[in-house]
Amino acid sequence: MGKALSWLLGGRRPLASHLLLAPAAGWLIVFLLVPAAGLALLSLAKNGAYGQVIWTFGLHNYRRAFDAKYLPVLLRTFAFAGGTTALCLLLGYPLAYYLSFRAGRWRNALLIGLMVPFWTSALVAFYSWMIILGKEGLLNAALLRFGFISAPIGILYTPFSVLLGLVYFYLPFTVLPLYASLEKVPRSVVEAAYDLGAGRWTAFLKVTLPLSLPGVMAGGLLTFVPCLGDFLTAELLGGPRFYLLGNLISNQFLMAQDWPFGAALTCLLLIGLIGGLWVYRRWEAEDA
């Protein structure tokens, strides 16, 4: 047993060290690569009149995806993902900065507080938001009570509520990479900037901000990418007529019974994301 272990962990035989990878690799192959390949295959098939899959292959689903009638959904999705990312960065950067530079002994407590939404089921969180934002909800009640409005207004099922939900859900994804990169900014380098005559704001703009840009990119990406595929937020907080790319895809599978078209849309989204990540990695490698 000990001998077998040292053979495994020794690392002198490439085959042995590859064996250590086997469980994770096996998992990914069975539950990610195989389904993805199946999805790619499915995207080339044809949809039957009764929602059955007809295995004749062609690019017709992709041609259909580029139909102009889907363009507004695509644009809206990018607008919401972009808007969410921008808002998360604007809200998250000061928060991450505070956590890293100012929080002192409260830092760990605040970091845990930031993680709490992570540990709450998204479904529970969004139903809570529905209760807060609804016609009879807490927010309307408060606004009525303090006389800002005279009758309940529609907050839920508006673009605003979708954006709110997205920002709420993805903010930790933005803050944690930002925090990590701000932690890596050497304090002595910031002091050097003060020492050479930079005030607080100048030192931030000329030193801290440029040095935390990798975190801005990583945090932005970690927010933007999942936002593009998000469908739950729009489904629950946007109402039935509010459509993002994620809803379009989930509808192909759940409502329209057009699995091949849904698969094609999914593949296009994946290609877009992988392309984006590739560009980011290139940028990062060039910078390092």
């Binding site: 050097a192 003060y194 020492d195 005559g197 030193v207």
Partner: protein
């Protein structure tokens, strides 16, 4: 204090939590002077430096620069620049960008920036490195960039926080001389923090010896070495045998001491040096290299002579440490003598009776001995 005084601090106190780091540090630095803060880690030298730079504020005490109280000024308003311990170069800027950082903030004309950057690079022997990334430089080169960045703005005072600590021994020796020459040429006052006594003795005009949040002694390297005032200073700089002695009644200007209650010594006092009353105890230091060891058949020189037994000798290459047993009442309290490496290198002579000889002026009288 002194008309030439550039910086006056004190009496500074500073606590971090319940730890008192500075307990009344008081000193001044003259214009164009190379002042070293020397002491072991945790002695308060770096905290004092950071208070002068403006990165920390003292609990009490003031910092005056060119006669102006700057205690409440932020670092960016002080005419003081710092060379940081680990260089603290801006990793996103190239060498020239690092050096020009301060000048750009002052909105100096670009042509002037280029000229002064080149001048600073020439001073630290890094011409041609303008466009290099700082992350691609060696430790010594980064050190030079940090130095150029700090001097290019011509501050009145330059603070250096163990700047050579991360370099290897050979490079450190080279940089010591270079730094000293640079300081002379620029005429900028340096405050140099180090825990390396040899570095301090080599480079400084004056040394302030720190211990436990206080300045134990300030003086030229010669003064610190030749007339240490406390056993800490004697031991930390150069190393010393520290003994206890009882003061005996004697003529003024001289001290009659009973060393470890066994040997009577008659030692001259420095002008102005005072001695506790007769009957009190003082600490006394004798430098190992001032102790001469003679075999019984040799003719000793040195007017204070002790019968001793050679107990051990340690070969150090260029020197040899000899452990001598002097005292019958306290045999464990050995005297260490330092001799040339060619002498007593062998262990053949152990337990041989010898004579240890010292000149009276090489016996330093230190602080009163509280323990006795």
């Amino acid at each position: 204090m002194n008309g030439e005084s550039l910086l006056e601090v004190g009496p500074l106190t500073k606590s971090f939590g319940s730890t008192a780091v500075l307990k009344g540090v008081h000193l001044f630095v003259r214009k164009g002077e190379f002042m070293t803060f020397l002491g072991p880690s945790g002695c308060g030298k770096t905290t004092t430096l950071r208070i002068i730079a403006g990165f920390e504020s003292p609990d009490s005490g003031r910092v005056r620069l060119s006669g102006i109280d700057v205690t409440d000024q932020p670092p960016y308003e002080r005419d003081v620049h710092t060379v940081f311990q680990h260089y603290a170069l801006f990793p996103h800027l190239d060498v020239a960008g690092n050096i020009a950082f301060g000048l750009r903030l002052q909105k100096v004309h670009e042509a002037e920036i280029a000229r002064r950057t080149a001048e600073a690079l020439a001073l630290v022997k890094l011409l041609g490195f303008e466009k290099r990334r700082t992350t691609s430089l060696s430790g010594g080169q980064m050190q030079r960039v940090a130095l150029a960045r700090a001097i290019v703005g011509r501050p009145a005072l330059l603070l250096l926080d163990e700047p050579l600590g991360a370099l290897d021994l050979k490079l450190r020796k080279e940089m010591q001389l270079e730094l000293k020459n640079l300081q002379k040429r620029l005429g900028i006052a340096f405050v140099y923090v180090t825990h390396d006594q040899e570095e301090a003795l080599t480079m400084s005009d004056r040394i302030a010896v720190f211990n436990h949040g206080r300045v134990e002694q300030v003086g030229t390297p010669g003064e610190i070495y030749e007339s240490p005032k406390t056993s800490f200073v004697a031991d930390f700089i150069g190393g010393a045998n520290i003994f206890s002695a009882r003061v005996l009644p004697g003529p003024s200007g001289r001290a009659r001491l009973l060393l470890e209650d066994e040997f009577e010594l008659d030692v001259p006092l420095d002008p102005g040096e005072t001695l506790p009353d007769a009957g009190k105890r003082v600490r006394v230091a004798i430098r190992p290299e001032r102790v001469k060891v003679f075999y019984k058949d040799e003719l000793p020189f040195g007017s204070l002579r002790f019968d001793a037994t050679l107990k051990d000798s340690v070969f150090l290459g260029d020197a040899c440490q000899i452990y001598l047993q002097l005292f019958k009442k306290a045999p464990e309290r050995m005297m260490v003598a330092s001799a040339g490496g060619d002498r007593y290198a062998a262990h053949d002579d152990l337990n041989v009776p010898v004579i240890a000889a010292v000149q009276p002026e090489d016996v330093y009288i230190l602080e009163p001995d509280e323990n006795a």
